[in-house]
């Protein structure tokens, strides 16, 4: 991006306009603003280090899940099965290692392998058979949700090995490991999306599949790979979820689906507007959580989460559309 800005500075009037900065970083300003407002309203509970750690720590799983989701979204495919895949993975790892006392490493490998398998199933139906990814992953997600209840007997499995708890929740500088995994994954996604040919290829497959095909890109392989990555990352998020919570709840997935999409789409309006991007997603996840945490501390509990995430998703996609329109029109 720096290179882009520099080169256009050579041939044309320099510096991106003020509007561009607002577009890219406006969400950070709003984020800071609501954080300040909540701090003033609830100095005792909101503006505390503990609360900051809670916010950063508890939502790391959502961050990881959303980052995986960015890959198929960039390629132009929906993956609505990620959230159920996550809770299914949590159930599987808890069941295998906690209930059946299988070796933990083996349990984790089996869980991740199941993730790859689900990704392959999605890809087979979507890429090979040509069914819409929206419908396919909606079905597969529902199926996985049902299986989670079946395996667990519809109850939360509390027997999660302590090693898994350490793996996810051990505190480093006061923050759980899960948060660092999220940040690492952010770097990985940022690197691939922005600094490798593969990242460009993903964008071309998403924006012009026929063009990508005729330019010699392995379009089917890229689409297949994207669905495998999102399912694999979702199963990793499941491991983290089991470790963070210390239990596996078969119904946990449903409460993650909308927040993940809201964060992905809201993230696409910031940092690199118009593209799904890692740091935009990072900001979006914590922006949304800050808002919700603040409102909960003000006493609006329970229903406020759905209202906030649902509203944010609609506003994010509407905003994205407005931005895209204004760009086309300004030409």
């Amino acid at each position: 991006m720096a290179a882009v800005a520099e080169s256009s500075a050579r041939s044309k009037p320099p510096r991106p306009s003020f509007g561009v900065y607002v577009e890219r970083y406006g969400i950070i300003a709003i984020w800071a603003l609501i954080a300040i407002i909540f701090s003033l309203l609830r100095p005792q509970s909101f503006a505390t280090l503990t609360n900051l750690k809670t916010i950063l720590g508890t939502q790391a799983v959502l961050l990881v899940l959303t980052l995986g989701l960015l890959v198929p979204l960039t390629v132009g495919e929906f993956d609505l099965s990620v959230a159920s895949m996550m809770s299914f993975a949590a159930i599987v790892v808890a069941e295998l290692s906690g209930v059946h006392h299988l070796n933990l490493i083996l349990s984790i490998l089996v869980t991740l392998a199941i993730g790859v398998g689900v990704g392959l199933l999605n890809a087979f139906v979507v890429v090979r058979l040509g069914v819409s990814s929206f419908i396919t992953t909606l079905g597969v997600g529902t199926l996985l949700g049902g299986l989670s209840y079946g395996i667990s007997g519809s109850v939360t499995i509390g027997a999660v090995p302590s090693v898994l708890l350490t793996f996810a929740s051990k505190l480093i500088f006061g923050l759980p490991l899960a948060f660092y995994y999220g940040v690492l994954l952010c770097f990985a996604v940022w690197y691939v999306f922005q600094h490798t040919p593969l990242g460009r290829h993903l964008v071309f497959v998403g924006e012009g599949r026929e063009i990508a095909q005729l330019s010699g890109l392995p379009v089917r392989r890229i689409r297949t790979g994207s669905l495998i990555v999102s399912a694999l990352v979702a199963s990793f998020a499941g491991l983290l979820q089991a470790g963070v919570v210390g239990a596996a709840d078969p119904g946990a997935g449903t409460s993650f689906l909308l927040p993940a999409f809201a964060a992905a789409f809201l993230g696409a309006t910031a940092i690199r507007p118009g593209r799904f991007n890692a740091w935009g997603t990072f900001v979006a996840v914590y922006f949304l959580v800050t808002g919700i945490t603040g409102l909960e501390l003000l006493g609006y509990t329970g229903w406020v989460q759905d209202v906030f995430y649902g509203g944010a998703l609609v506003i994010a996609v509407a905003l994205g559309r407005v931005v895209a329109n204004s760009r086309v029109k300004s030409r």
Partner: protein
């Protein structure tokens, strides 16, 4: 009385003047040509008339004697009697012909029942009057491109003729039409003009302008450089008005020495093609043509693996590939490059920067030390598009913001940099202005001179006559005639295409 009159129209984008003090008057009953290079202000003028842009200043504006204020609000052009056919036609491909025809025009109250029987009768009558015989229940997607264009035009023509006076504006409607479709269109235009409406016809094809219009307005750099009577106007004079200087209307000439056989197509069969064989020699530019739907347009896609062939083989430099299993990826590796006809659907992504689009096939070059060197990429793309005279030569602009000719030059550059052994082009000059055309064909000739085999599939016979060493004429999926370099002329090609099109 003028069917359309607008005076002293000005519009700037940023600092750039797109239109300065342009005055245009279209008489009732007249077919009025509007020509100019890409970027001369034609599109801006039309977008102001359709209410998309607001002008910075204007003098007077009226349609068929009705005075109106600019900018026009949505719906206002239609109520004034202005109808448009844009290049993209504005049809919904999943809806039927009837539905497309009547969307927003149903003769029923908004909540009233649509009287389909009446609608059908009305639409059938209109289509018949334009010589269009398609089923009303076919979806637009099922129609041939020619019929699609004609449906859009028939729809606009029928809208236009429902008014007491008014003007029909056709914005490059022939770009996607073969010659026989053009004739149908022209007779429709004449009908509308005969009813006392004005017709504005925008086209890059000067011979069409000369043959159908009564007067022509030429725009250059946002100014009206003259409105002249068409009868007696010579093509060279018109070109001079468009370009501002007299240029030799010639392309890089052929006649280099040809080498041995470079590319062979043998026994190729597929959609629209039966048992086709031909060779292309080193340094040769081969043209494929015919009337629309005769199969010549499918050949380059089949050879490249963009469409699936059922039989045959393709041999490039002695390396044979079974046509059935060619993938674009493998074709590119073997040394092919394809510049598709449908620019923003198959060739480049309009919403992405020029640099992204151009560097796509060679992106690996810029990936060094685990990092995509964007600065190097932009530098090299800039050098490349400067060499092709792309304006503006700014790789960071999004592709869709360039004019058609400049998009095409950039996308040609995308493939030229891979140094292809065989270059395949489909309708390379569609929607491209005269100067850009010249640049494109001289680049193609230069590649051939270096030893590549070039295949151009086109229905622009003027271009083919100027550029090709040899032209094959298709009819019903087979080659029916071959013209060598000494006897290629536009007239000869037209004659062969039409004469062979009549079934024995």
């Amino acid at each position: 009385m003028d069917a359309l009159y607008v005076s002293d129209l000005s519009k700037a984008f940023g600092g750039a003047k797109a239109l300065s003090d342009v005055t245009v008057s279209v008489k009732a009953g007249e077919i009025h040509g509007l020509v100019g290079r890409n970027g001369s202000g034609k599109s801006t003028l039309i977008k102001i008339l359709s209410g998309y842009h607001a002008p910075d200043s204007w003098g007077a504006f009226q349609v068929a004697g009705k005075v109106a204020e600019l900018p026009l609000t949505p719906g206002q052009p239609a109520s004034l009697g202005l109808s448009f056919v844009h290049q993209d036609l504005g049809l919904l491909s999943t809806l039927s012909v009837l539905e497309n025809f009547r969307v927003g025009r149903y003769k029923a109250a908004s909540l009233g029942r649509i009287k389909w029987r009446n609608e059908r009768r009305h639409v059938t009558r209109v289509l018949d009057s334009f010589g269009l015989h398609v089923s009303l229940d076919d979806t637009i997607g099922q129609l041939a491109p020619v019929d699609r264009a004609l449906v859009a035009i028939a729809r606009a023509l029928s809208d236009a003729s429902e008014h007491e006076g008014g003007t029909l504006i056709l914005d490059e409607p022939t770009s996607f039409l073969p010659r026989d479709g053009v004739e149908k269109l022209f007779s429709g235009m004449r009908r509308v003009a005969a009813e006392g409406l004005g017709v504005v016809f925008v086209s890059h094809r000067l011979e069409e302008i000369l043959s159908i219009t009564d007067r022509v307005t030429v725009l250059r750099d946002g100014r009206n450089v003259g409105t002249v009577d068409t009868p007696g106007l010579e093509e060279d004079d018109l070109i001079e008005m468009i370009l501002g200087e007299r240029v030799e209307q010639s392309y890089a000439s052929s006649g280099g020495t040809l080498g041995g056989v470079k590319l062979s197509i043998s026994h190729l069969s597929g959609p629209g093609i039966h048992d086709l064989s031909f060779d292309v020699r080193e340094g040769e530019i081969l043209g494929l043509t015919g009337l629309a739907g005769m199969g010549h347009e499918a050949v380059v896609y089949l050879a490249f693996g963009a469409q699936r062939a059922s039989e045959g083989s393709v041999t490039l430099e002695g390396r044979e590939m079974a046509a059935r299993s060619i993938e674009p990826r493998a074709a590119i590796e073997a040394g092919f490059a394809l510049l598709p006809g449908d620019r923003l659907h198959s060739s480049g992504v309009g919403s992405l920067p020029v640099s992204y689009n151009v560097s796509l096939p060679v992106l690996g070059r810029y990936f060094r030390g685990g990092w995509l060197r964007e600065r190097v990429e932009i530098g090299e793309v800039e050098a490349l598009i400067r060499g092709l005279d792309v304006r503006p030569p700014d790789p960071t602009r999004i592709l869709g913001s360039l004019s058609g000719g400049n998009q095409q030059k950039a996308l040609l550059g995308k493939w030229l940099q891979t140094r292809p052994k065989a270059l395949l082009l489909d309708e390379p000059s569609q929607g491209v202005d005269v100067a850009a055309r010249k640049e494109i064909f001289s680049q193609v000739r230069a590649l051939a001179t270096e030893g590549a085999a070039v295949v151009i599939s086109s229905t622009d016979w003027e271009d083919l006559a100027h550029v090709c060493d040899r032209v094959l004429i298709f009819r019903y999926g087979r080659i029916v005639a071959e013209v060598g370099s000494d006897s290629i002329s536009e007239e000869k090609l037209i004659e062969l295409c039409y004469s062979t099109a009549t079934r024995e």
